[in-house]
Amino acid sequence: MSSEVADLPDASGHFGVYGGRFVAETLIEPLDELTAAYERLKNDAGFQAELDRDLADYVGRPSPLYFAERWSNMLGGAKIYLKREDLNHTGAHKVNNTIGQALLAKHLGKTRIIAETGAGQHGVASATVAARLGLECVVYMGAEDVKRQALNVYRMKLLGATVVPVESGSKTLKDALNEAMRDWVTNVDNTFYIIGTVAGPHPYPMLVRDFQAIIGREAKQQIMAAEGRLPDALIACVGGGSNAIGLFHPFIEDSDVAMYGVEAAGDGIDTPRHAAPLCAGRPGVLHGNRTYLVEDDNGQIIETHSISAGLDYPGVGPEHAWLKDIGRANYVAVNDDEALKAFHDLTKIEGIMPALESSHALAYAAKLAPTMRKDQTIIVNLSGRGDKDIHTVAGLEGITV
């Protein structure tokens, strides 16, 4: 694959026809300011050293690449390696991005941080870095999610953040993002908006990807050390797409490496209850970029469904939309039941309790591995740990914990 794809977005933030900057005029100037600051700091040795130090000493990087031998043997096909983002501080890949954006906020002299969150993982990761830098932090969260994710709401409060329940629209992640944008438009002078995934207006899809690409860079070195060659396939779950693009991006030019992004099929992509814009949606404009969306014939965004709150989003990062259209990555969907089975399997077989989001990637690995040879390898991004989902899983089994 040519380096042209890896070099995207173009100067105006487009990945082919996707991406761009579809925002109210008030935000153009702050987005320009952010783009310029990022372009400057990206190549600044001091900034990079500060970022590397934080990733090592605070986040705990590099995260291990673990060969899930017992599970691989039971599936009876390719060797499955797990990229252990669940071992990061705060328990998911989200912190790779919040550390980076918080450093940008500091360099831009902003004193207040805002974030949107669905499951609460990005909210916790934002509240964490805000606490450490002594910045005020406000997290927007759909009122429905506040109810579903009480544990993370309390974690954010302990970290000193203000959690604002969003009562508009469907009261979930997309509405939290709308509300965060409204806050930003009102408080642009002192506020930095830490977007939690590779969505939003340019430069967010680019800079979040760059901060998450540490996952793929490490994985590439680690698999070379372990196997002496590149993997045959990469698998990651796709909500907004940040953990997936973080793993994929450093491999884009390695055309022999297949890539699978796994969306949440909820009750099934042939039902109205799913969260799979790439598999079952179509292009449109939402939250500042053009991308695939779950929407109706009139262009209204439809409420999504997934057992995992972190995948419950009607859009997807524009770079994934482009990788789909040009055929560089494959996008597939896994339903609630399949994800749940993978959650239990990995817990029982490897002693690793994955997040329900990551369980979607694992469920697809369980389908793909048996179709491959034993000398082939797969890297699955284990984007987060499952502690936050214990209430959900227990609830499905009629148990209250």
Binding site: S12, G20, R21, F22, V23, A24, E25, T26, L27, I28, E29, P30, S168, G169, K174, D175, N178, M181, R182, V185, T186, N187, V188, D189, P283, G284, V285, L286, H287, G288, R290, L293, E295, D297, N298, G299, Q300, I301
Partner: protein, 283 residues
């Protein structure tokens, strides 16, 4: 001459400023909208802004968010909104109508299909909040081909360089967003608006409308003193919302507000005590 051009020319000849009320189409139900449009014209509106309901209105405060939700409960679609404009045109062929909303409904309908249908319905302008000129090239082209004006926003954060670029693309009028914030905000600073308008006027001869934060006759009058047009959104939609359960009262409630604004705007710059004399309130 386009309706928008003719409208501003006529106002200028009379030394008057334009009053542009905004309502969300289909709020609180679709039957209300067309009669309300006629009532607003009778009450002194010069142009009408008709909101196209959207599920994710990112730039709106709570008032217009809820208006979108009420309209969407009835499934009001972009095509329904065009049908309303068409019906309005049966008896009104002069008052300009500007659609205001978000990109996605237009994206899904298709630019060409939208432009053709909108022109046929009698739409005069399109303002999409989340469509800065950098992304608007293809849409602007098809709109201009059917003589629909693309209305662009300018904001307090817009740099001088961008003001020039946006004004070069704009036609009809330009819309200055008076404050950093969402619709319905209350932090309007008229002196700051005046200063920014002077900067904008260096780049364009087009009329300048000012919106966001204009909530009563007094603010309408103060903004009218510095701008060419006053856009009133949340204040109007609040009158609709207050009467959502008894829609037969909406026309009168909205008309009362617009009459107050019209009188205040036409009375010119504030004279001490005039407001109390006219309306018996001590603002």
């Amino acid at each position: 001459m386009s309706r928008i051009k003719a409208c501003f020319a006529a106002l200028k000849a009379e030394n008057k400023k334009a009053l542009i009320p905004f309502v969300t189409a289909g709020d609180p139900n679709p039957a209300v909208t067309v009669p309300l449009m006629h009532v607003m014209v009778e009450a002194g509106a010069d142009l009408l802004e008709l909101g196209v309901p959207f599920s994710d209105p990112m730039a709106e405060g709570p008032t217009i968010q809820k208006a979108c939700e009420r309209a969407l409960e009835h499934g009001t679609s972009l095509r329904d909104v065009l049908a309303m404009v068409s019906e309005f045109r049966h008896t009104n062929s002069t008052t300009p109508v500007i659609l205001m909303g978000y990109m996605n409904p237009v994206e899904i309908m298709g630019y060409q299909a939208f432009a053709t249908a909108a022109a046929e319905a009698g739409v005069d302008g399109l303002l999409t909040v989340d469509m800065p000129p950098e992304e608007a090239g293809a849409l602007v082209e098809v709109l201009k081909a059917v003589e629909i004006d693309p209305i662009f926003l300018l904001a307090p954060t817009t740099t001088d360089e961008r003001v020039a670029k946006i004004c070069a693309e704009a036609s009809g009028f330009v819309y200055y967003v008076s404050l950093k914030g969402v619709t319905g905000a209350a932090n309007l600073d008229v002196a700051a608006v005046d200063a920014k308008l002077a900067q904008i006027r260096r780049h364009t001869e087009l009329p300048i409308g000012v919106g966001f934060g204009i909530r009563d006759a007094e603010t309408a009058q103060r903004v009218a003193a510095v701008a060419d047009a006053v856009v009133v959104g949340s204040a109007v939609v609040n009158r609709v919302a207050e009467n959502a359960e008894s829609p037969e009262k909406i026309n009168e409630a909205v008309a009362t507000l617009l009459c107050e604004m019209r009188v205040a705007m036409d009375a010119g710059p504030p004279k001490v005590g005039w407001f109390a004399k006219l309306f018996g309130t001590g603002k």
